[in-house]
């Protein structure tokens, strides 16, 4: 038996192991690189590239590469590059905030339903089913229209219509882990429900939840873009989706006005999807064969 133990690999923590797996997935690493770049540009860009995004700075409808404003200008003569850099902040902020709300509601509902089961589960699953029936975009439109299109309301509206799948996943994980021996052991030494839910079960349910949380950011960004496109955006800020909406009537004169913001959204969400896939593979090495 001795030679077996000497050749066994050094123990590594599960998160280290997941990181190693993640690093092997080139697409996911690329996605992470793109996302970090987009975040950094959005945060620092406005201080370095100081052209005001909402003012007329040049001839309207100037094509890219023909002036000092490299990506051209829109129908109001606003610098497209400045718009993209500043718009990224709003898009990312709403994306992250909405994903946070999605995950917070989803995990809370799912955890309670899965942990307590019985009537609690029954009731919470009815509520979940109800929110699944609501047509998500239409409902978000109604909420934003009735309560006003500020960034917080938009984030809340997106969160309210997106949490159901997270809740179902969390519930499933909780029901599975609840029956495991170590949970029973914790219970037998007197751990309370709060401790069991947050400190014992939740950490063990983390891997799939991290994956859906990552993907929720991407979905939320698409959602925000859709609402902005329909005109349901904060009038005091510019997001990528709103830029597309604003420039849509002028696609024949300035196709670049819709192309670039769309590409930004596409790249950001694609990066998040790649990261999500990478995380999924890293946490479930067995599924990698597929």
């Amino acid at each position: 038996m001795t030679d077996v133990t000497t050749t066994a690999p050094k123990p590594v923590s599960p998160s280290m192991q997941a990181w190693r797996m993640f690093r092997q997935n080139h697409a996911a690493v690329l996605g992470l690189g793109i996302l970090i770049a987009i975040i950094v540009i959005s945060l620092l860009g406005p201080y370095i590239y100081t052209v005001p995004p909402r003012d007329m700075v040049w001839m309207p409808l100037t094509p890219p590469g023909t002036s000092e404003y490299v990506l051209g200008t829109d129908y109001l003569g606003r610098d497209l590059l400045a718009g993209l850099i500043n718009g990224g902040r709003v898009t990312l902020a709403v994306g992250f905030a909405a994903a946070l709300i999605t995950v917070a509601i989803g995990i809370s509902v799912g955890a309670l339903a899965g942990f307590f089961g019985g009537r609690v589960d029954n009731f919470l699953m009815r509520v979940t089913e109800f929110f699944q029936v609501l047509p998500n975009l239409l409902f978000a439109m109604v909420v934003v229209m009735l309560f006003g299109p500020d960034l917080l309301n938009i984030s809340i509206a997106i969160g309210i219509v997106s949490w159901t799948s997270t809740a179902r996943l969390t519930r499933g994980e909780f029901m599975r882990i609840r029956e495991m021996d170590f949970v029973k052991a914790e219970r037998s030494i007197g751990a309370g429900n709060t401790r069991l839910i947050w400190r014992v079960i939740l950490p063990n349910a983390a891997p799939p939840l991290i994956v859906v949380s990552a993907l929720a950011i991407g979905t939320a960004i698409l959602f925000e873009a859709g609402l902005s496109f329909l005109g349901l955006s904060d009038p005091n800020s510019t997001s990528w989706g709103r830029m597309i909406g604003d420039n849509r009537p002028y696609i024949l004169d300035s196709p670049w006005g819709v192309t670039f913001p769309g590409l930004c959204i596409f790249l950001t969400v694609l990066a998040i999807s790649l990261i999500g896939d990478g995380l999924n593979d890293a946490f479930n090495p067995k599924l990698r064969e597929r």
Binding site: F130, P135, M145, L146, L222, L230, I244, V258, V269, L274
Partner: protein
């Protein structure tokens, strides 16, 4: 079998009433009320007129009476009056539903059929170009905003290569009826349907692929091979029938949600359906119309859930027995 469906139906009614209550509560707690919107449209009114309109709309009644009236009205098919069009919301929806159905059904069928074919083929050859292609279009389809895809397709297929009309459902100049009219509509349908289908194609090809992979690894497919079934029968008789079960389920569930999804695409292409109506009612702050569409769409979701359940019972013998 019937009992299960009846349960589903009862459940569905409860859900719809809940949607109505939520609808109504939202208007009630939201800042501002419908009368203010109407007054805004009219460009101002005297306080007496506002009071009179409040009474006319029943807004001076207690909450519980208002909600009762509202539910009763909806039950008789009355979703209220549009504050902008001045027509019953039910009538507006009825006028627009055909266009939306045409778009949604075309897009969903296209996505489902092509997606299933792509998924099924790519599952058989996991390392093939087709398989990688499915992975790439699935990722791209999930990541691109649908309205942007629509605009890009317009730039490509209507502007750069002028093959297809940019927007609308018919040519303004076209007075023709019969076959010419049908062809004209189909011509206009291609781009919006393609746009909507792109997004769902991503979903279905991935779902069909995953489902087929799972089925191909199953014990019963191994049994079929061990019996000496030719490859053709193994795939199309034993594997496919099982692999499309989740595809059918999701198609049914998504069909309801698709009206919501069509909002963006209809807006891009000015397709005269419910989605464009929803967009316009936002522009006009026409709350009754938007809520009416929300309720109608919820109803579609619920109805499709029940129908999907029925179809599922037919194609999967395991459920029939329960």
């Amino acid at each position: 079998m019937l009992k299960g469906s009846l349960n589903k139906l009862g459940n569905a009614v409860v859900l719809l009433v809940a949607v109505l209550v939520l609808n109504f509560t939202l208007i009630h707690i939201a800042p501002g009320d419908p009368v203010e919107a109407i007054v805004g449209e009219m460009g101002g009114a005297t306080p007496e007129m506002i009071e009179q309109m409040r009474a006319q709309y029943g807004l001076d009644q207690p909450f519980i009476v208002q909600i009762g009236t509202y539910l009763g009205n909806v039950l008789t098919g009355d979703l209220g009056m549009s504050t902008y069009y001045g027509q019953p919301v039910t009538q507006l929806i009825w006028d627009r539903i055909g266009a939306t159905m045409l778009l949604v059904i075309t897009a969903l069928m296209t996505a489902m059929i092509i997606g299933t074919v792509l998924g099924v083929f790519s599952a058989q050859k996991r390392r093939s170009i087709l398989s990688h292609f499915v992975t790439v279009i699935a990722l791209a389809g999930f990541s691109a905003p649908v309205f942007w895809v629509g605009i890009m397709l317009i730039l490509l297929l209507s502007v750069s290569i002028p093959l297809l009309p940019i927007s609308g459902m018919t040519s303004a100049t076209s007075e023709a009826g019969g076959i010419a009219h049908v062809l004209d509509v189909l011509h206009h349908l291609i781009l919006p349907a393609l746009t909507l289908a792109t997004i769902y194609l991503a979903f279905y090809s991935r779902l069909a692929r995953a489902s087929m992979l799972e089925v191909l690894g199953s014990d019963y497919v191994r049994t079929a091979r061990a019996k000496g079934m030719p490859q053709r029968l193994v795939i199309y008789k034993h594997a496919l029938r099982n692999a499309i079960l989740p595809v059918v389920t999701f198609a049914g569930l998504q069909f309801g949600q698709l009206i919501s999804g069509a909002v963006l695409v209809e807006t891009v292409f000015a397709w005269p359906g419910l989605g464009t109506l929803a967009f316009e009612s936002i522009l006009r702050r026409d709350t009754p119309t938007l809520l009416g569409i929300l309720f109608f769409s919820s109803m579609m979701v619920v109805v499709m859930n029940v129908l999907t359940d029925l179809v599922y019972r037919i194609i999967d013998p395991r459920i029939k027995a329960r």
